[in-house]
């Protein structure tokens, strides 16, 4: 495990994944951090962001300014309620769309669809909402929730506000409207079977632009290419940075659906440091070989927290898989061990120093 903390004048971007989820930590300087999404190691049950901060001697309760949930998909928010719980002075940032009535209704339906069972789709969000409610009642004037919307500044009112800038690049108004429609389409209907809502509109994803210590970072979340008025199309039509970013958290696990040439032409320096985490839970693992080829054609400095291939089942999982019997086919544990890639750059320096911890690796065609 990487245990050396960054110096006050060092900018850091760390990415963890996959475990269940994906998580980015940014050190803005002077022991001020933001946490973007969360991942939890399914074997150790540890929340990666907290394990790392504890390991480098950072107290999350004091040092974390923002906890950002980019969108409501469990490959991004596993353990985020634990993160927010520990980050006692942090503001929770979520997409404008998840503070709408439709999302609250989905979380309530989620509680009732299979009442009495532990299965939930949005339990992390319910826990976060409970924490928000309890913190609001603990002190007058403290508002622990902030909505992310295109062009909205997110750090104001925090100790880091004077030194750094965190800007939401998405969602656009159009994207919020579309996300609301998508969420509404998953609401319970009288006479229809109860089931957990499996809706995760990437339209509501929050991409971030971070400026600190003289450098810029683009965190792409799972933002998609479009459609018109949404995604990267909307970002590129409304945002023109004065200087380009040198680090990019590649959007949507490197998928072509999250790619837009304009990202690399208008927002990023030439050959930036590209960071990504794979997605292995679906029928298609990301990034695909075509995705790898495309990313490597755009930068040689690309790193991934783990391989795209399904990890080998550990002994306990093999034993469990054997117990499932022959009806269960293609038994797999896609989450695997959480990898960590860390990029650091000192104030005034032009370069990034990247280290990684297995199973993280340089992105390759293998």
């Amino acid at each position: 495990m990487l245990t050396d903390p960054p110096a006050p004048d060092v900018l850091e971007v760390s990415i963890f994944g996959p475990g269940k989820g994906e998580c980015v930590l940014v050190h803005l300087g002077s022991n001020r951090w933001i946490v973007v999404d969360s991942c939890k190691d399914q074997r150790s049950r540890q929340v990666s962001a907290l394990t790392y901060l504890d390991g480098i001697g950072v107290n999350p309760a004091e040092a974390v300014m923002l906890v950002v949930a980019t969108h409501a998909d469990d490959d991004h928010f596993s353990g985020i309620a634990d993160v927010f719980e520990r980050c006692a002075s942090a503001i929770f940032v979520c997409s404008e769309a998840v503070t709408k009535e439709e999302f609250f209704a989905l979380t309530k339906a989620d509680d009732r669809a299979h009442a009495g069972l532990r299965v939930r789709a949005f339990s992390e969000y319910r826990k976060v909402f409970d924490i928000v409610r309890s913190r609001s009642s603990s002190g007058p004037g403290f508002r622990p929730l902030r909505r992310a919307l295109q062009q909205r500044s997110l750090l104001h009112g925090t100790p880091a506000d004077s030194d750094a800038r965190v800007l939401a690049l998405s969602p656009s108004d159009e994207a919020v409207s579309r996300a609301q429609l998508a969420l509404a389409s998953a609401l319970p209907v009288p006479g229809q079977p109860r089931r957990l809502a499996k809706v995760n509109p990437n339209e509501l994803a929050v991409a971030l632009w971070v400026e600190a210590l003289g450098k810029r970072i683009l965190l792409g979340a799972d933002l998609l290419h479009g459609p018109d008025g949404c995604g990267w199309i909307a970002v590129l039509s409304t945002f023109t940075p004065t200087e380009l970013a040198s680090v990019f958290k590649v959007s949507h696990h490197g998928s072509i659906t999250g790619h837009h040439d304009g990202i690399w032409q208008q927002l990023l320096q030439k050959s930036p440091v590209a960071l990504l985490a794979p997605f292995r839970s679906g029928n298609v693992s990301l990034p695909t070989i075509e995705d790898r080829s495309r990313i490597l054609s755009l930068t040689e400095e690309a790193f991934i927290t783990a391989g795209s291939r399904m990890p080998t089942l550990p002994r306990a999982a093999r034993r469990e898989a054997g117990s499932l019997g022959p009806l269960a086919r293609n038994v797999r544990e896609p989450w695997g061990t959480v990898g960590h890639v860390r990029a650091r750059s000192q104030l005034g320096g032009d370069t990034w120093s990247v280290v990684y911890q297995a199973p993280a690796q340089r992105l390759s065609m293998a």
Partner: protein, 196 residues
């Protein structure tokens, strides 16, 4: 946790004779000997626990409607144990998982399985749609149960029976939907005061 499907049962109550075991339904699969070494180990563990009578099921405590599971259940847990239990033909192990359906594609559905009566890792697995009843119409967000039973048969041979069932928690009612919508509206308004 509360599990409506698994009614209270002790290991003694699942110690049926082989004659009580129904013929395997379409959703079940019986694998014959030789079973794997791991399965033998597991069976031995359960056999030893059988002696101590550790409770393996949990009592139903939910008031939520539940119209049951697929009709192909092969072994009903409320069945009375036989008064004559053959020591050589016993269910020596029972393991259950709950699975949330992640997606349906190509005649298969994928479920994320978590153990509900033992410790173990979550796993993803694919299942043939034909294992469920034709009218189940399984979709992402549905919940299934997987049960494996291990039976020690005569002459020391063992068999394992696995079964997949769809949980049917009933239908949404108009009252519930209205209540959800109204409370969601209230909560969204309430959260406005927490937003900076």
């Amino acid at each position: 946790m509360t599990d409506q499907i698994a009614s209270a049962q002790t290991l003694e109550s699942v110690a049926f004779t082989a004659n009580e075991l129904c013929a395997p339904p379409s959703t079940s699969h019986v694998s014959s000997d030789p079973i794997s070494g791991e399965l033998n180990t597991f069976a031995r563990q359960w056999q030893s626990r059988l002696v101590t009578g550790i409770q393996t099921g949990s009592a139903s405590g939910s008031n939520q409607p539940d119209s049951g599971t697929s009709s192909s259940t092969s072994l009903r847990s409320h069945r009375k144990p036989s008064s004559v239990i053959s020591p050589r033909e016993l269910i020596v192990g029972l393991k259950k998982w709950i699975g949330v359906v992640q997606g349906v594609e190509g005649g298969m559905f994928t479920a994320e399985l978590s153990p509900i009566d033992h410790e173990g890792p979550a796993l993803l697995a694919d299942f043939d749609l034909e294992l469920l009843a034709p009218d189940d119409n399984v979709q992402a967000g549905d919940v299934v149960y997987l049960t494996s039973r291990y039976v020690r048969a005569a002459r020391g041979y063992s068999t394992a029976t696995t079964q997949v069932r769809l949980r049917r928690p009933g239908l949404w009612t108009q009252d519930e939907v209205t209540e959800i919508q109204e409370s969601a509206r209230d909560e969204a308004q309430q959260f406005n005061q927490y937003v900076d």
